[in-house]
Symmetry: C2
């Protein structure tokens, strides 16, 4: 397989969107943005040995994850992803089958969410497999939800159950795009983020951007079956894993108290549970409230690259 | 240095554009595209050991090159680059100084061309240093120039002198953005590409997309001093290097015969020489015409990833 024949193969199989004027095969792709007001852009790089381990997972799953991570980022703004460009560094001696399986994983998710791959870069190097997805989104008249809008008095909501994603969810999660769009269309969401670094680490991003603090309700944090399973191996509690583990790709948001009640009782989110796990307060940092009512300060804990 | 403090450092130093509503620090960046008709997007991945060798060059030069390559791609469409998102995989034990020097190189070029870095992803892995730049551009009322517009009877023009870029130009080239915009504003350019894979390889991309062939004039190919210098080491001719070497990042274009005369005599491109190196013909493939008038078929030759 050569670079150019591989690109031709991708090009032929790629489904097309109406707003893409020129897709794969030139120096740039060209999109019609005349009807758009806002254009969103995000980028995510995943490398073998850090974000997945190709000794233990299929390359198709890695391709799936790369696209799903970027969809989750656009979803975290409450907006609709549209197109992506994908750069791939293949290790030397990569086979055609390996490259083909990768794209199967990419298309599994891209097709499902109507995202066109409009371009890319295929390189090879003496390095582990590495993939970068840069994705665009459009507002479609919605207001993008930032991290910076949390207000004292807001309630903190989270979708799904958290922790232990390393046991499988980090590869097979469904990006919460449908839920994010439903939420942004129907409720004034003050701040939102997807949980990639970990619940407390990502909550801390919201707090720092918004200049506020938070109290979490210890008995309200939804931990997953995987968190329980993992806790048996690590000796940590399931709560510890729910607070610290990364890559759950659930939505974490803050809304006013009145809106929180509306969200929880609306019945609009049918496929995923939403939990109220705490409140936004004046001040800084995160505190934890036990069922007995005692409050202690906790440190944001989660995955951070480059930390030594 | 941690990931989050490094991102804060980048964020504080980044110059801002007016059309960027939300830059670094959220799940996505947000751009105002209400005045744009078209949005262009390109992505380029560079990895240590393939696109540069950090044992022999400064990380600042690698940062410089990463941005310049993407600018060259937007320039090759005859359009204006605007913003970029940058993903970086740092090897383990990367120092703060190394990361800072990288961004100096990025800003050297980004600031010069008024490109805002609106987001990114910082990761670490057991892998060589790797950087991906995804860049957006806008048409500003100009028609983007594709690879597919070459017509039989067109003349083939190229900027600058070619070959031997491995001796230094591949790191220090100036993207031909000013020239590309001047050309697209003043002349009907039929097809254009930047020379990254090599003159004959990139010409072949135009030919395949346009469904035409080409005749090159052997004595009109402008080879650089570096091509001459390199030829002394390799035993190949300077012409060989001008035809085959990649990463010159000059502009290769086709225009009608009448327009070619206008381009060559216009005096609009003051900083770089433009040469007429051949013509587009019916049929397929590339042929070479010697000064004596004999014509022989040549194979496109240049850098291709994954070729075994």
């Amino acid at each position: 397989m050569g670079e150019f024949s591989f690109i031709q193969w991708i090009r032929k199989r790629q489904k097309r969107r109406k707003d893409v004027i020129l897709g794969i095969g030139d120096d740039c792709a060209i999109l019609d943005v005349s009807a758009d007001k806002l254009c969103l852009i995000t980028t995510d790089m995943l490398v073998d040995g850090t974000h997945f381990d190709l000794k233990q997972c299929a390359i198709r799953d890695a391709g799936r994850k790369a696209i799903a991570c970027s969809i989750s980022d656009v979803a975290a703004m409450g907006c609709q992803p549209t197109v992506a460009v994908i750069s791939i560094c293949f290790p030397e001696h990569t086979t055609e089958k390996f490259a083909g399986e990768l794209y199967k994983g990419i298309w599994d998710i891209a097709d499902k969410y109507n995202i066109e791959i409009v371009g890319g870069d295929i390189i090879s190097g003496r390095s582990p497999f590495c993939i970068n997805v840069a994705m665009l989104g459009r507002d479609d008249g919605l207001k993008p939800v930032r991290r910076s809008g949390a207000k004292a008095g807001d309630m903190i909501l989270v979708t799904g159950a958290l922790g232990g994603s390393i046991l499988g969810k980090h590869l097979h999660f469904e990006p919460r795009l449908k839920e994010a769009l439903t939420l942004n269309k129907n409720f004034p969401i003050h701040a939102m983020i997807d949980i990639s670094d970990g619940l407390t680490a990502d909550l801390n991003h919201i707090l720092e951007e918004s200049g506020v603090g938070a109290i979490l309700y210890e008995d309200q944090i939804p931990f997953s079956d995987a968190a329980v399973e993992l806790s048996r191996k690590t000796g940590h509690t399931p709560l510890y894993h729910a607070l610290s583990d990364g890559e759950d790709y659930e939505l974490l948001m803050t809304v006013s108290k009145a809106q929180a009640k509306r969200v929880l009782s609306s019945g609009l989110l049918t496929e995923v549970k939403v939990s109220c796990i705490g409140e936004i307060v004046k001040g800084r940092g995160i505190r934890m409230k036990s069922p007995g009512g005692t409050i202690r300060r906790i440190k944001p804990r989660g995955y951070e690259h480059l930390k030594q």
